[in-house]
């Protein structure tokens, strides 16, 4: 026990003395939360549009003002010809061009179906569709006011119930994702690099020659990272609860338990990587490509897994982050009973066992 404590202390000192890494590790979750919370959105807001008004009459002018006033668009260009539109698109000055036919009001009043053409920059197809929808909405509304007509009532009243996230905040989705990601960085990446570094610098030889058992060395290596991940999780919870207003609906105890299990899985992944990699560079590359990238892309944090092709869905099944994120989403956001996350718990615990077994087998207490 005394040996373990002094070894763990040595590891803590290693980490604390590396001020830069320490700072980044503690600040990273907060920055990620802020980025995902405020910067990574698909909201349409003040998108630059251009207008070619061939009609230049009262109604068309009011229409353009309406578009400019709306929170979605700001009219930055008034065109005189089609060729100008083409140019503006290619300079990416505008995302949407609206062309109003000549004699617009006259045709509208005489019911000749005047045409409004919208050219959307469909480089980003989803964004283009949204822009066209919003612009059509603004135009239809504005024309409705012109004619003061009534909206014909629809006969089926569809009631839409938004379960768990009625305000549609994106933070509900990414908070679990950020947790899953940060723990992989701290536990898997940092742990593997720190073990391989001892080997690369030659200090591993000293450790192995000491009377300390290899298992104690490994345990004392991972203890500090275990503590740092707990701090990170706590930070994420505090930021999401107090700043982002994400509720914690489920039982704190089971969420805590889940985090511990996931941290253990990630730590054993880190140990496994360290037994494979011979240099820090290799350890970094392996953990970045095999662990980090899939934890971001295939975990359901940003992109929906069930919309992916089957091969990728298959790969996603072996990512611990996927199971963790799915479970924490259910426990924390949906507030479901623990029995609904039984499967996730089971998968994570068995992953943990398998990984520890493999790394114990691969771990050598001799240097080649």
């Amino acid at each position: 026990m005394k040996q373990f404590l002094s070894f763990a202390k040595k590891e803590f000192l290693h980490i604390f003395r590396d001020t830069w890494t320490m700072m980044i590790i503690l600040v990273l979750p907060v920055i990620m939360m802020l980025l995902f919370g405020y910067a990574v959105t698909t909201e349409v807001r003040d998108t630059n549009i251009g207008i070619l008004d061939n009609s230049r009459d009262e109604i068309s002018k009011r229409l353009i003002d309406k578009l400019d006033e709306s929170e979605y668009f700001s009219v930055v260009r008034a065109f005189n010809s089609n060729s100008e539109i083409e140019k503006a698109f290619r300079r990416s000055e505008i995302s949407l061009a609206i062309i109003i036919e000549n004699d617009f009001s006259k045709k509208l009043i005489t019911k000749q179906n005047p045409k409004i053409q919208m050219i959307a920059d469909a480089s980003d197809p989803n964004h283009a569709k949204t822009l066209v929808n919003y612009a059509s909405g603004v135009i239809a509304q504005s024309l409705m006011q012109e004619s003061k007509a009534n909206n014909p009532s629809s006969l089926i009243n569809t009631e839409l119930k938004l379960l768990y996230n009625p305000l549609m905040k994106s933070s509900y989705n990414f908070v679990p994702g950020v947790m899953g990601f940060i723990i992989i960085i701290v536990c898997a990446m940092m742990t593997s690099v720190s073990i391989v570094r001892e080997r690369e610098r030659g200090s591993m030889e000293l450790l192995l020659a000491s009377p300390v058992k290899p298992i104690t060395i490994i345990l004392s290596k991972v203890t500090p990272y275990f503590c740092i991940s707990l701090i990170n999780i706590l930070t994420i919870f505090l930021v999401s609860y107090f700043i982002m207003g994400v509720p914690i609906k489920g039982s704190i105890f089971s969420i805590f338990l889940l985090c511990i299990v996931y941290i253990l899985v990630s730590l054993s992944l880190g140990i496994l990587v360290s037994t494979i990699a011979k240099t820090q560079l290799v350890a970094l590359v392996i953990s970045a490509i095999i662990l980090l990238m899939p934890s971001m892309l295939l975990s359901g944090m940003m992109f929906d897994i069930s919309s992916m092709p089957l091969i990728l869905q298959g790969i996603a099944q072996i990512m611990p982050a996927k199971w963790f994120i799915s479970a924490i989403r259910k426990l924390m956001i949906m507030g479901v009973d623990v029995r609904f996350v039984f499967k996730e718990f089971l998968v994570l615990i068995s992953m943990c066992f398998v990984l520890i077994l493999i790394s114990l087998k691969k771990y050598k207490n001799r240097l080649e």
């Binding site: 698109f89 938004l162 560079l281």
Partner: protein, 366 residues
């Protein structure tokens, strides 16, 4: 002198166990897999239906839903509570609840109710699925009473035209930008490891006492990654063409010019961090920290203009933003270099600032 140093760099890279594989294979795999993963398209919404009416109308609605490719009716339950259990187990995403008397209400009272409950933990997925279902149901309603007269509503025709990507293929949008991301990962992280590697191995000591001048040293580090960048981006062009059939609408020459400039900027950034870092761990975390911010704020996944003004201000300091913009413009819109001059100046500015910084921050004294 410079020639020998570059030769040394290439020998080191070639003899490394993982680097040559990383440079040649990673762009292939990443570009083949990423566009399938990084996709905001929503398909396969799993639906559980609670049909308490079991009438011909409710059946017609269900058939309409089945005909839609993005909606899969996976379960039928008797009660809403049982359907909720499926949502909680994450076996379904949406509940469509048709109350008893739906058809009767529709015909007799001209007003019937229907409930769509959708899991919106993932807000975007939830709202898109709900929109699909709502559209189908209002289509049904329109069909059923085509006799309705739209009397006073203004009649006008809106003709949307989706320029530059007529088939609305999301991959056409993502592939050129993902090439930028892959280039950033390889030509950003590897230089960041490079000088730190020399420090950890002790080579730095020898270089510091040699007559190599600062600019020559930085250039000897920069040029190899410049060449690697050209290889990586060429692999990218090849995969995009062979695998996705995507070729630039504009000139490939333009894309190459920009990628040469961009590689200098991002490798320079790696070298700057590498000068400050003392260990691999420090270098990787600093680089990761910056690259993550640069990528998320560059408009790669979400539109740049959707960000709040403060975020756009920070984002305009991301060289990725400009290069991604260029790639999409040239690939999809066929823009030429004159139309992309602002982006060109911005990138050249980055190259100048970052590489001057790299030379200045390299110190021969400890």
């Amino acid at each position: 002198m410079l020639g020998y140093l570059i030769e040394k760099e290439f020998k080191q890279i070639k003899r490394d166990w993982i680097l040559p594989k990383l440079i040649l294979i990673f762009p292939f795999i990443a570009l083949i897999l990423l566009p399938y993963a990084a996709n905001f398209d929503i398909k396969d919404t799993r639906v559980v239906v609670v049909d308490n009416d079991k009438s011909s109308y409710s059946n017609q609605i269900l058939n309409k839903l089945r005909a839609n490719t993005s909606i899969n009716i996976n379960y039928f339950e008797d009660t809403y509570a049982k359907a909720m259990d499926l949502i909680q187990e994450d076996r379904a995403d949406m509940i469509i609840n048709i109350p008893s008397g739906f058809e009767k209400d529709y015909i007799v009272n001209k007003n019937s109710k229907l409930l769509i409950a959708v899991n919106t933990v993932n807000g975007m997925k939830g709202s898109i699925s709900a929109m699909y279902a709502q559209n189908i149901i209002s289509d049904f309603s329109l069909e059923k009473n085509s006799s309705i007269q739209v009397i006073n509503s203004p009649s006008m025709e809106i003709q949307p035209l989706y320029a530059f990507n007529k088939t609305l293929n999301y991959k056409f949008f993502m592939v050129p930008a993902l090439m930028v991301m892959i280039l950033t990962l390889i030509c950003g992280f590897l230089p960041a490891f490079n000088i730190v590697g020399e420090k950890e191995k002790g080579n730095m000591e020898q270089i510091n006492v040699s007559p190599i001048t600062k600019p020559v040293f930085i250039l000897s580090k920069l040029i190899p990654y410049w060449i690697i960048g050209a290889i990586v981006i060429s692999i990218g062009f090849l995969v995009a063409w062979l695998f996705y059939g995507i070729t630039p609408q504009g000139s490939i020459f333009t894309v190459y010019i920009f990628s040469f400039i961009f590689t200098l900027a991002i490798s320079g950034l790696g070298l700057v961090l590498s000068n400050y870092a003392q260990s691999y761990q420090q270098a990787v975390f600093m680089m990761f920290f910056f690259i993550m911010i640069l990528i998320l704020m560059s408009g790669l996944y979400t539109p740049f203009t959707s960000m709040p003004p403060w975020a756009q201000a920070i984002g305009s300091f991301s060289p990725l933003k400009y290069f991604i913009d260029v790639m999409r413009c040239v690939y999809l819109k066929g823009s030429n270099i004159v139309e992309l001059l602002p982006q060109l100046y911005a990138l050249l500015g980055f190259v100048a600032v970052v590489n001057t910084w790299a030379i200045l921050s390299y110190r021969k004294k400890n």
